[in-house]
Symmetry: D3
Subunit: 245 residues, 6 copies
């Protein structure tokens, strides 16, 4: 299958890291294509950045009509509902993927994300997905997203310290890493803390492969019905779906 992973931010080095994390877990027959839009924010930290990453992300998806499934590689699950409306094939967000997986392994998990500004958006997703009674807490380690790319940063140590607090204070049984940029840390942190530490990129790749293997597609019977044909104006004219279909 052809699986497109869209990093909604515009930082190509992060896209490469994500692509590598995806390929590391992909099945034999899965071709991973990791892309990012040309336009938009270099990282997604809070509600404002989210908005500007979605148009480019959707265009990357629409430009790949032959892709068998898509993964959105931002832990906020940025633009997930819109992407499901646009595409017929499955679309999986890394945030939801990691949380679903966590509930299969533990009675209670804690999310460790980058900055406090993102916590309310993630708490909202936890509530939206139904996991409020399973998510002990959403914690921020106060490491900006792009610092995760910096080998001289003490980011890993700060994430590890936050995991230790989650274990002691939240009684968390599993950890969900709350940023695509943490994808390469999961295994080592899991070994260090003796509990499942889940990376959303890897989780989403497996869920997307699973849905494809099962022949399941996004339902078009309700909220994810295709966009209605209508005029789109100005610089977004091309985003509109024509009456011709």
């Amino acid at each position: 299958m052809h699986l497109t992973i869209v990093n909604p931010n515009t930082t190509a080095s992060m896209t490469r890291t994500i692509g590598e994390a995806a390929r590391a877990v992909a099945a034999a027959g899965t071709v991973i294509e990791a892309v990012n839009p040309d336009s938009g924010p270099a990282s997604i930290e809070g509600y404002y950045d989210e908005v500007w990453s979605i148009p480019g992300m959707l265009e990357e998806m629409r430009a790949r009509p032959a892709s068998d499934a898509f993964v959105i590689a931002c832990f906020d699950d940025t633009g997930l509902d819109a992407a499901r409306s646009l595409m017929a094939v499955p679309v999986v967000g890394i945030g939801e993927a990691a949380m679903h997986m966590a509930t299969l392994l533990a009675t209670k998990f804690t999310v460790v994300t980058t900055l406090a500004v993102s916590v309310p958006a993630l708490e909202h997703n936890v509530h939206k997905y139904g996991f409020a009674h399973r998510c002990a807490r959403v914690r921020a380690c106060e490491v900006p997203v792009l610092e995760l790319e910096d080998p001289t940063s003490d980011a890993r140590a700060r994430i590890s310290a936050e995991i230790a607090r989650a274990k002691n204070e939240d009684r968390a049984e599993a950890i969900v890493l709350g940023c695509a940029g943490m994808a390469d840390l999961a295994a080592a942190l899991s070994a260090e803390h003796g509990m499942p530490v889940i990376d959303g990129v890897a989780a989403a790749v497996k869920l997307a492969e699973s849905l494809h293997a099962l022949g399941l597609k996004t339902s078009k019977a309700g909220g994810y019905a295709p966009p209605r044909p209508k005029a789109y104006r100005g610089r977004f004219a091309s985003a509109g779906v024509s009456t011709d279909g």
Copy 2:
């Protein structure tokens, strides 16, 4: 005060209707400016249209730094969290406004919106705002948004019929009109059905005036902190906030 109402879709005639509805309830000292972006969908029907209306909407807001408050005139409360992050002054969505008002008047309300494709997004908002136990149902009357502008349509009759069903089947005590384009129908439908029928545009104008009069502004202490300075690339380069401030 200067109150900017942004209709996030690009249909100017609908913006005019919204502006008139707003002016009809505005306080003496309130100057209403109703605008819409140049770029984006002609109407917002479902998750996909939402996404493409937000960038233009935010630009209209950013271009008005002297505005004392903003109203988002789409019942989906499109881009509300991002707008709150961007602006220091209050931002009110017409969906939340109408629902908050309804809970002050009735123990249970029903939302009557346009198309079934929008129902899940609205149900999600109901859940997000905490009104799941107060909202009896979200109903669609299957009238497309722009048909509300068409004087030859039987839209009003279909909305009225749906209100009657809400009263009988849902035991609704109040009705929330689920589209900015229904703003001019509220009073007549309320008289016809003998119960409060709430238009979100009017409700949001009063809430925005209220917050301004109280000197209250959006909290910058958490999820609505200002966008972090960072590089924005490509055609959205101008959306980024510079390090200078």
Copy 3:
């Protein structure tokens, strides 16, 4: 409009403070009348006091059939549902008003009230209104209600200290002041802590004005239907609604 604010306790000095706070935010055309019953407790601290304040409060309302709206100036929203049943015009509680406003400005708020004995009643209201996922905590600063009237008290310092704790421990983005007697402190505390601090009296005045301006009245279609005509006996005989009307 004529807006009656009923302080349900019998402390006239507190009624004056509330009236002044209301007038300070009222619109040009709003005539504020602040009243309190002759009979009942000097302050409302816990479930028992609530009960004895409601009959007098309802009589004050019933004696003002020409009032365009009512505000109940006790943070417990004492007798709110009964008042809505009795009166045709809007009735707003200061507790609900402040909480609704808070959700328009912040993703999470903390309530700072007077005594621990009131916390369960307020938590119940939070749950009833649907804000359990938006209210980080209900805190008590252990200042009795009437001490708020005492200029020599350190009440303000204790409230401020509790707000600091709410910011640090609860990650609150806004504060709701949990007593009508704190009405005059909101602005200074907001400036001190750099986040919205919301007074319910002011919030309720604006909501009541808003509902009136919109021509909206309490729904009589369900739980707030007028009291049924029936015999009331003994010293409450006059509270009954006669069959004649």
Copy 4:
């Protein structure tokens, strides 16, 4: 033990029916005293009537310091929290009693009450007690409370018809009778419909006996702490608790 059952309305014939229902299930050593206040509404139908029944009810309780427990015999559990604050011994409401018992016998129950005006108050109690996922529906049979006393009424037939609907439409496995005046119908309706039909008066008597037998009393450590000593003014002066005691 001495168990006082307070019918909060002023209809003595209904108090007698309630007393008989209570005595029919009371344990050998339980002395049942059924009382009602002299002042207040003849029946409780909606929020307004509730308010006026509570002062008299509390006075009946306060006048019986030697009673070992109290039952509030109105399905709205009128004034329950205030009564728990006032008295040291257990206080049980018939609404909560019946619902608790129902959850021990069935996975889902429906409440059948008198008038639609009471449904929101009962739905609120269901939500407050935590049984929203166990209560299939609150139904009204549109029989006024006092008509239950009228032997020529078709009240029983209408209640039975509503139970049949609950079974078929709600998949209810048990029925909770939503009015103290229905106490004498439970056994026959249970036999007729082949499922548990629970009367709150009987349920509350047994729960009150149980709490007493276990030596359990209302907690005074939080929301049910005794009323604070303070001035009560006017005709309610005697309701205040003095500093001496």
Copy 5:
């Protein structure tokens, strides 16, 4: 009445303690029979032990068709739904019993159980029963079940220390003891901490007596319908219900 209390573990000394606790609160006419299965775990600590205790427990019940009611004396309410399906008479779990009683006495309670491994199962029950907003926390004092039988253990001190923490940190107004083996400690701990401390064994005895006295039986109209006749194979062949009834 004949009331059978089944301790689902196989430790006879614990069964005796439970039986004594039950007899201490039973009504004059109640004959208590405390039993345990021959097969299964010596104590129930976690999900795995639960499973192996249920078959033996059900067999003890099935062997007593004349019993008027049953109590399951494990705080996990092990096998409760299955037991209700099997028996026509009431079945009460000690966990649910204690929690129901707690909500009649306090606005908020904390559970103090034995080991951390049991906390998720108990939190699940709290959620299932609807008490998530009433249960402040489920705490473990890290005392293994059978150590409660050991007079030289410091178990009582550790439980008492945990209750103190519940009072200070959770603002708990009542304590629910989370293990049948703590039955004999409730009264002393209640006196020590000045708040209700509830033992589930005693609570369940009174609820079972109550249901029996009211003539109420488990509903057979839905989820607790009798087991369908079908083949049971192998060593569990005798557990099957034959077509003959």
Copy 6:
């Protein structure tokens, strides 16, 4: 990988159907072993049957220490928590698997199961997993489990009719088949109704493969800690875990 699928009932023909459904979707490197216990009920219909299927199911698991993951092939997710405690490798229930997958494809799903007696247990699972706001309804088509094996039955037609009702009455966007015995119907029913129809066996196989591929195991840090060493008596003596480990 070696994936063991345990059908907890004792009907070997159903185990074969399940095994075939599993192999049809398994990845190239997955060896599927479908087994069932020798002892226990021929089908699982309600709470009672569940209990008797779990011991045999756990023994089948314990006898396969080299298996890389397990699937529990009963839609009730029978014994899931106990199995997770016992085994170190991932264990997935077909009920949870199908529901998780459904939420990735649709905003709202309906479960179509066999008999009404199972509906409450499934509703409980929906609530436990957090999907109460995503599951429109749990419906029963009143086809007994073993009739699904009978080629002359009209089971398929009745299931299809129930799906049609789910689409029209519940506004379901996807269907979850509520019995392992329906595994072979999913594709055809999906084509017939034009919406995703999800079989839990297939879904669970892919989730188990995914967890294994990611190197994730059940957390042993809390509720799923290994069974504590202790004495197991009587015919279940061998189920106990010895102190030796």
